[in-house]
Symmetry: C2
Subunit: 149 residues, 2 copies
DNA sequence: TTTTCTGTAACCAACGCAGTTACCGTTTCG
DNA sequence: CGAAACGGTAACTGCGTTGGTTACAGAAAA
């Protein structure tokens, strides 16, 4: 449990939605991830705010993809979670030092570009693409288990 | 103070080294960052292991760039710190669920590609480039302070 | 009206990280 | 030689983030 696993949880849950189709309850999603339903609801709450999924309360409620899986990009999910990838140290600046005065805007610029590049990378992959990869790798995983002595 | 600020601390300290030249003590670097010398030594210890800086103990000791600032890339610094950008959730898999079985290798692949892209982005900038940016931004910062009413 | 959902608050435990103190070994310099 | 000035490291603290959990209110379907 180091770092932020919310993107992993989100993609896991969304892949479940992609495969099952229609409404799926947080409890069902949680069983696949092996976690608590509230954890799923926390993450999927953000996804709902960003229009990636729809939620409905009440009996037979749950979450559903707001669009087709081919129309949802990993970059959207990434952005929805507002994962902080880099952090600028929050120490006060030493006014006697030139470096100390210019470092923060410089770091902010560098990190902003890096975030932009990450976003572009994630833009390449749709949820449908990712789900396909998951199933292929699940097959390989399964075969590996079968042939193990 | 959320996330990992070690990359920020490293780049800050390295920029100080670039400007001052020669050996600089952890105590002096720490004053620019406004932090404790041990924090600097922890980060610079990793940089020394990766051959980015040299350290020498004893009187008049300290840290110095191992190469010219133009020959050191931010990507090297990034790699030296082994900052974990993304995390795969560590929950056990639900063997009854196909998604649960294939998700981890799929996420590992996705995140590895993302890390690769980040590395390539950081490869574009040398320490000398970065230091130049810092000084320009320090000037602007200074001017902003001067004209403030 | 009962059941089954989400939404949310509240709390706990685990973890990572910055900060700090302290001490050892090493190197320079008087 | 001995004092002074370094880095390396261990140990401890405090704080913030996060995941897990329980509990409960409100909503919707049966």
């Amino acid at each position: 449990m180091s770092g932020n696993a919310q993107l992993a949880v989100a993609l896991h849950g969304l892949t479940v939605l992609t495969y099952l189709g229609g409404r799926v309850s947080s409890s069902k999603i949680a069983k696949s991830i092996n976690t608590n339903p509230v954890v799923v609801r926390r993450v999927f709450g953000k996804l709902a705010e960003s229009g990636i999924v729809c939620s409905s309360t009440g009996k037979n409620g749950g979450f559903a993809l707001a669009r087709e899986a081919g129309e949802i990009r990993v970059s959207e999910v990434f952005k929805a979670l507002e994962t902080r990838t880099f952090t600028v140290h929050s120490n006060d600046r030493n006014q006697a030092c030139m470096v100390s005065c210019g470092i923060k805007p410089a770091l902010n610029g560098l990190f902003a570009e890096a975030d932009q590049v990450l976003f572009q990378e994630f833009e390449k992959t749709s949820l449908a693409d990712f789900a396909t990869r998951v199933s292929k790798l699940a097959d390989e995983e399964h075969r590996a288990v079968m042939t193990r002595d």
